[in-house]
């Protein structure tokens, strides 16, 4: 950790930026004001869910690189419910929207998962290709089906008020998605560490051959792990629609997929570590945005810090092995 900050600091200094002030901005923006903290929590929600959607299949040593597509499928699914049934009362519409979104994400992942199960096609490839298909779908619904003519950027018309997630704090606004996300993370942790299916999942990843010999349906476990991963990303998409945007916006997937993968890898697949890493990355992301505003340091600078953290974490494994 420390080494990556030093390395990135030297790089920043070489480019002529004020290094101590830059780091103060990156690290403390989240904790200085209530607004900064809420911004961090809002980033934390999708990051946590996307990191889990990568980490759960990773436990079975399957790589889900399709979180972006699954998030968008979830967003489109929940927005469809929110727009088409906008007259329904909130106690029906909100859960229906969230559930449809989660299901859509699961379906989006189910295709690559089934291709792996049935034909043995490498899941890295198919999950990625599904991302690009989802971009086209989002563009289609935001420019043709539910286009908002008032918006300059491809955007859909808003969902019904009944589909909005309630606010926990009204100013600065923090929606109830944080409770859902943390609840899901705890549930996933108990599923993996305390249930038979979770144990079989870990065993499959640790040694597929031994698992197969001991009667674990290895291929079915991989199928289910990928679908569960898709459901988590779909849930993230549904929460983004119901809690943050209240509509579909092109580009709403941001860079959550990449950061989710990064978080999963830094946590080295450990489900318990994922929320803490996700929160730290959310702090860095919010800090980097402030840095761009105040000191004109490009946003991507923080990627280099994050990339270096990842490299050092991975290297520490090698050192420990010796």
């Amino acid at each position: 950790m420390g080494a990556s900050f030093v390395a990135a600091g030297i790089f920043l200094g070489a480019l002529g930026f004020d290094v101590p002030r830059a780091y103060a901005t990156i690290l403390f923006t989240s904790f200085r004001t209530p607004n900064g903290f809420v911004q961090t929590l809002l980033k934390f929600i999708p990051l946590l869910l996307l990191a889990l959607s990568f980490t759960v299949p990773l436990a079975a040593w399957k790589f889900n690189i399709g979180g972006e597509g699954q998030l968008l499928a979830g967003a489109i699914g929940s927005a469809a419910v929110g727009i088409l049934l906008s007259g329904l009362p909130a106690f029906l519409l909100l859960p229906l929207g969230i559930m449809t979104g989660t299901l859509s994400g699961a379906v989006w992942a189910a295709l690559p998962a089934w291709l792996l199960y049935r034909f043995g096609i490498n899941e890295i490839l198919t999950t990625v290709l599904m991302n690009f298909i989802s971009f086209g779908l989002l563009d289609y619904v935001t420019t043709e089906v539910w286009r908002d003519p008032a918006a300059g950027h491809p955007t859909s018309i808003p969902i019904g008020a009944g589909a909005h997630l309630p606010l926990l704090i009204s100013s600065p606004p923090l929606h109830a998605g944080i409770v859902v996300a943390i609840g899901v993370a705890i549930a996933i942790y108990f599923f993996i560490s305390r249930t038979t299916a979770g144990y079989e999942l870990l065993a499959t990843g640790a040694n597929p051959r031994a698992s197969l010999i001991h009667g674990i349906a290895v291929r079915r476990i991989s199928l289910l792990a990928l679908i569960l991963g898709g459901a988590l990303a779909g849930l993230a998409g549904a929460i983004e629609v119901a809690g943050v945007h209240h509509r579909l916006i092109e580009g709403m997937q941001s860079n959550y997929l990449l950061l989710g993968i990064l978080i999963g890898l830094i946590a080295r697949g450990n489900i318990l570590a994922v929320p803490f890493v996700a929160f730290s990355i959310a702090v860095l992301e919010v800090g980097a945005r402030a840095l761009q505003r105040t000191m004109m340091v490009p946003l991507e600078m923080v990627f280099i810090i994050e990339g270096l953290i990842l490299v050092f974490v991975l290297l520490s494994d090698v050192v420990r092995r010796r």
Binding site: F63, L125, L129, E144, E300, F303, G307, V311, L314, V318
Partner: protein, 311 residues
């Protein structure tokens, strides 16, 4: 120009990044190193290639060389982490993908900054081959292209000869099939893996640089648009052999050209669905073929000569 001739000519032009990236992937894979960072390496190559040409006042050769050096650095990192440190190839590949993607945008922003109109470099011109380019139809399609089209064709031929008709090529294939056997015959397994991974990644970097140098004249974020991932699929279709990869890339290029033409002219289908075509087609083609494909037996694994048996 006849529609068919124009179409074929465009296919040959569009073929290049697929051929370069897939042959690069194939080279590393033949030594057992499965690179999954193509998308990131191509983006870094596109960015560095553009910047190299832009800063030298439009010198495309310098841009292309820089992109290859950049690719080579990624290859060196991949080879070091997997071959020397024996870390998981997918994990390292994904990390490098992330770094390449971040680096591409960061370098562009640091050098060019935010501008209203994108800075442009001159695009690569056609280089008609004397004599040959006057052959009807064939001359137009094959011999009136930019230099990298010729390079892609010659490279595929050269790789075919190298892999199947030379000693070092055979040694390379042995390293990817059974490194223990190769090692016992005196082949330097590590050196082979390093060389193949680095030279393969240099090709992938060049594939990235092709995009700003031929298509757009400038760098835009995410401009590779999945071509890196598609080239992995292509390498699988081609059974990790250079001649079949070349044939497969004809298909990928044809789909891309078709999608582009249909988007411009329109056929009553919303253009978004046409843009999905390359990705949908790739998944569909994988369905019947994937199981039957031949892959290097040691693909994606790391060789440790001090271990007694290969699991």
């Amino acid at each position: 120009m006849d529609v068919f001739v124009l179409f074929s000519k465009l296919v040959m032009l569009t073929l290049v990044p697929y051929v370069l990236a897939s042959q690069g992937t194939m080279l590393g894979g033949r030594a057992g190193v499965f690179n999954v960072a193509q998308e990131g390496i191509m983006l870094a190559g596109a960015s560095v290639g553009f910047l190299g040409a832009y800063l030298s006042g439009g010198n495309l050769v310098q841009g292309a060389l820089l992109a290859m050096v950049m690719g080579g650095l990624f290859g060196l990192a991949l080879a070091y982490f997997t071959t020397t440190l024996k870390m998981d190839q997918f994990v390292i590949g994904l990390a490098l993908f992330f770094i390449g993607l971040a680096l591409s945008t960061l370098l562009y922003k640091l050098v060019v900054g935010v501008t209203l109109t994108p800075p442009l470099i001159p695009t690569l011109q056609e280089l008609p081959l004397p004599g040959l380019s006057h052959i009807p139809v064939l001359g137009e399609v094959l011999f009136k292209q930019n230099i990298l089209v010729y390079l892609a064709i010659l490279l595929s031929l050269a790789l075919y000869v190298f892999l199947y008709h030379t000693g070092p090529g055979m040694a390379l294939r042995a390293v990817g099939e059974n490194p223990m056997a190769a090692d016992s015959l005196g082949v330097n397994v590590s050196a082979m893996r390093y060389l193949a991974t680095i030279s393969g990644s240099m090709l992938i970097g060049l594939a990235g640089a092709y995009l700003p140098m031929v298509y757009t004249g400038t760098f835009t974020e995410g401009m590779v648009r999945g071509r890196g991932w598609l080239s992995i699929a292509l390498t699988f279709f081609g059974g990790w052999s250079p001649h079949l990869i070349f044939l497969g890339s004809l298909f990928f290029a044809a789909v891309e050209v078709l999608a582009f033409r249909v988007q411009v002219t329109g056929v009553g289908v919303p253009y978004q669905f046409v843009l999905m075509l390359p990705y949908v087609a790739t998944i569909l083609v994988m369905l019947p073929t994937f199981r039957r494909l031949r892959i290097p037996a040691f693909l994606g694994r790391n060789y440790d000569r001090e271990r007694r048996a290969l699991l």
